[in-house]
Symmetry: D2
Subunit: 337 residues, 4 copies
């Protein structure tokens, strides 16, 4: 890292800063500029050390050179990782599509949708049993009963299931049914929850927080990885901006950026990313073209009856059309659905 | 609410929409415009109903007229609420100042700071025992041992204590020491946690999420209120924007906005709001002038040794100066510290 | 539009509001709810009238139902428009690619790049003669001499040219060489400039402002259209967000959104949209997959010598590769390059 | 600045980078870390050089150490500047208040308001003759006739006048009446306009762009300063965020930040900053408490008839009340109105 000293720093202050750096185990190189002196410091930096150095008299600011993530970084592991969820692989040539309703509402609803998406080529099922909702007066999910319905949908279709967990205390219960945990955007920095799934042996899909930087997202992955669970799939689902035509702003550039700086697979959720089912088809194609390692889309056979997220849910026939169209795009970029 | 129909909606579609509204218990008034037909719908709306109506054929969009929060709204309770934490009252003429370190690091550190801020007139102590940190490699708090130190600081100074709780499973343990729970910005939409503190009888300080709208913030408060706990104090602590000169952008306008639309007291945290101790003094004065019902500031006797947030912590002597200066501003706006 | 009255509005106030609406030429429908009264108002609304009504005693807020743009809207013109620039057509089956350096630096530079991109299949040339730069100490463009070089590049390659105009006083001079004006992001709301190009007969490429909503962008187009110039091509080039891994956040959802609400063609600039040449290739493919009606990319034969935007410029060989890859994607979505 | 080399950079690449730095006139210090090599480069950097170096093989990124502004920086001039507009001084002990309507609508309107605000203690008048409006169908200002009315208001009240200029071609005409130019937020990066007022001898009030960073704002000031005009007053007027309760998010932290890094005076416009007249009073007090060197507020005697910005305009009686209340706050922070 680089320690930039204040213009008016005294020789003593500079000396004290250098001593402090040595104490912290850094090797130092001093460069005296016309206006300012800077110190290159080589060693193991942590956020704590940076903050303490920033408060040392004479220091103007600290400029980190290395990224704060380690296990999630491409510098730690040069080749892309693959994450297997049963027979489904994220990060390979195939681009698996996860589909299903926002929330599990009933056995009839879940099975109808599950069979339809399976028929159209979905690789995995989704469906929320525990639903984090902005309003306490909205449907909060069927909870345990929802998990049982998911188990049934899995049996019927043979497809693995991903579902959200929202409370560290529920991890075990959810793991009994889910093939993959979903950590939702609102919980991306719920560290108690990240550690709990990090201690599990099930793969984790980590959604990007509503206003998380890519670095913060990778640091959240780092919590899971450093707890011993290597099977993390990132999911871009739109970020918060000032634009209101879409529910969120889907940041597709995050896909090639993640591929450059991290070895983890990254998928895209165009349903939450846009909030409007009409935009799901074009943005699915765009996601595949940008190199996404998978898609997750919301499908409902009766969106006008859905208990949540109807406006962004595809009907099964639109989903079928989407599957056909993304297959063509995937082929154009050397991938397969 | 208003249901706006598509320009090309057929008479049958319109009829079906109206029937659906009646089914949902709404009374309706239809206005046929030159370009579009709109339906005024009077009744109890919920987010679920809105989404389902949005997906009904012929509907272009739904425009809600009433706010989604109820218990948190000024329309529910016209007079401002006060929240008492022992002898300290938020929402009255006095503007209590909460002070202390970001994290409890040791008994010696906590007591030194606690005594200093008590002497300068702080009304309450703060100090984190459970620390949600962006990096898994950063100091994560002393946890249970930290709570014991807080209890000691409380005994020594006689001041009530606020501390953060991050896991629903910890609520009971934290309640044994804390006079007020803090829900941090990262957990503003951790609904399992909101419900857990909502079931407790201790007051709750609810920080605004990093990119939460004021409506979402009030909806988070609604989770606590609707669980039976009326003692919620909101805390503005800066929102995420593109500006990088400050850690966050302190949104002081939120103070008079909250006072207009909600009856809940609202305090300001200029330490997290700016991320730089030099900005804490001017922004504290600005917060009081804007009508804040309290302040929360980070103080550390050795910021250059602090295990977290040193750069935004005031030294005790700066805190003392701040207390004097905000007293003058408070008097100018008819309040007291 | 809908006029929402305050809960405490008196009968007289409501009467006065209705009279005012009639004065402004609206027909009204009153709906009395349990909590609030609302008035549906049918007629020609303008921003001015809305603001005046908002200030009328008893009024809580105005909710517009129709969009503020007229000529730019899909409701005004149901079929997509095409804009021809010489033989190049935006908005048809073909997806034209505009390529060239950020700034015209010299004849040798411009001709080298122009010939290279023409050979790889570019449909139009770009190159800035007047450069709006953040710093007054940065290269500001060759101005008139730059225009002459562009004219030469046009002669040599036979390709039409688009170049930026930044001052209403320069419109005539630029029109002598350019086949299409570019209005840059920083000038999207420079209304004197929009009117000046609106009075010209040359097509205009209107870049989205750095933090412009899609509505504001269409309102800027409305300035040009309402001045008499129908040939407007919109260009998405990334918006400002908190994310710093990319120079801007490329909002590809804007492409299908524009196609839904406007009849104007929309192209994408992945060079400014990402700021990093490595991201240009994947995001070009994504843009075409999302339905973009064209692309504009920066190409430089020696990016490490470029006087501006080198880091986001493709080398001619990368551009060639991009052209091949986007052709495959275009075919997959029923378009051609 | 610091040049960070790629992990895989070869010895030859590093040598070539160093040679390039020497060519550009930098002195260099090389630090070899465990993972990466970095080069400290001392010399005159420009944005152009940075971009070219970034594209040199082996270079990962450039980290600038010094700020890009020079004349606007506190390092260039250590003491705060004062800007005099006739008898009014920005940057001294006094906190001048500029008041008047958003737009000049008629002589009667302007004189009524001007007399009222003068009586309540306003130091300067405002009023727009050239109005940049989002919609081409909104009132665009009285233009030349508006300037004449402003001249009359000035004669009648004896107060200096600030008014917006939007076209470089209008600068001379506006200068005949205005005592100070206003550059609006939409034109903050209209460099042709900045240069035009930079060549004038009249003071300039430079509003912050809607999504401008503080650095970009100072770079815009740098355009004016480097053209020879030293009399620049900055004006914070709110930035664009996702929050919709307020028109913009007033970034009051910008006041102490500007005071720390620049010597230029900075005032606050709470009318545009919030968009709601009810918020103007608390935010005016907050601005003064934060250290603002002046205020600019919109006042209209009949906001419900105003041709623009009625909802954010104070009535004269509210303005009077504001003047009394901010006087008390100013006294509390050692200033005077």
């Amino acid at each position: 890292m680089i320690v930039v000293l204040r213009k008016e720093a005294t020789a003593e202050e500079i000396k004290a800063v250098i001593e402090r750096l040595h104490e912290f185990g850094f090797r130092t190189h001093v460069s005296e500029g016309v206006e300012k002196t800077i110190i290159g410091a080589i060693g193991e930096k942590t956020a704590d050390k940076i903050q303490r150095l920033e408060m040392t008299p004479g220091v103007e600011k600290i400029v980190p050179i290395l990224q704060p993530y380690k296990l999630a970084g491409r510098e730690f592991k040069a080749t892309g990782s693959t994450v297997a969820v049963g027979p489904v692989v994220f990060g390979g040539k195939k681009v698996p599509v996860i589909a299903g309703p926002c929330a599990v509402e009933s056995e009839e609803q879940m099975l109808t949708i599950a069979k339809a998406v399976a028929k159209s080529g979905a690789a995995m099922l989704r469906g929320g049993a525990y639903k984090p909702r902005t309003s306490p007066y909205s449907f909060q999910g069927l909870e345990k009963a929802g998990l049982e319905i998911l188990a049934e949908a899995k049996r019927v279709t043979g497809l693995p299931v991903v579902t959200e967990v929202v409370n560290p205390g529920d991890v075990e219960q959810v793991a009994a049914v889910a093939d993959m945990f979903q950590i939702g955007a609102r919980n991306m920095q719920n560290y108690a929850l990240l550690r709990a799934v990090g201690l599990s042996s099930k793969p984790v899909m980590l959604k990007r927080g509503l206003s998380a930087t890519i670095t913060e997202w990778l640091m959240a992955a780092e919590y899971i990885l450093s707890s011993g669970n290597n099977d993390v799939v990132l999911c871009e689902r739109g970020i918060r901006t000032y634009e209101t035509e879409t529910r969120n702003t889907l940041d597709l550039s995050a896909v090639p950026v993640i591929h450059e700086i991290s070895h983890l697979p990254v998928i895209v959720d165009p349903s939450h990313g846009t909030g409007k089912w009409r935009l799901v088809l074009p943005m699915s194609k765009a996601a595949v073209a940008a190199g996404a390692d998978g898609l997750m889309v919301e499908v409902h056979h009766k969106p006008e009856e859905a208990m949540s997220d109807g406006p962004q849910s595809l009907r099964p026939e639109n989903f079928h059309e989407m599957m056909e169209q993304i297959a063509a795009v995937a082929a154009a970029v050397g991938r397969e659905i």
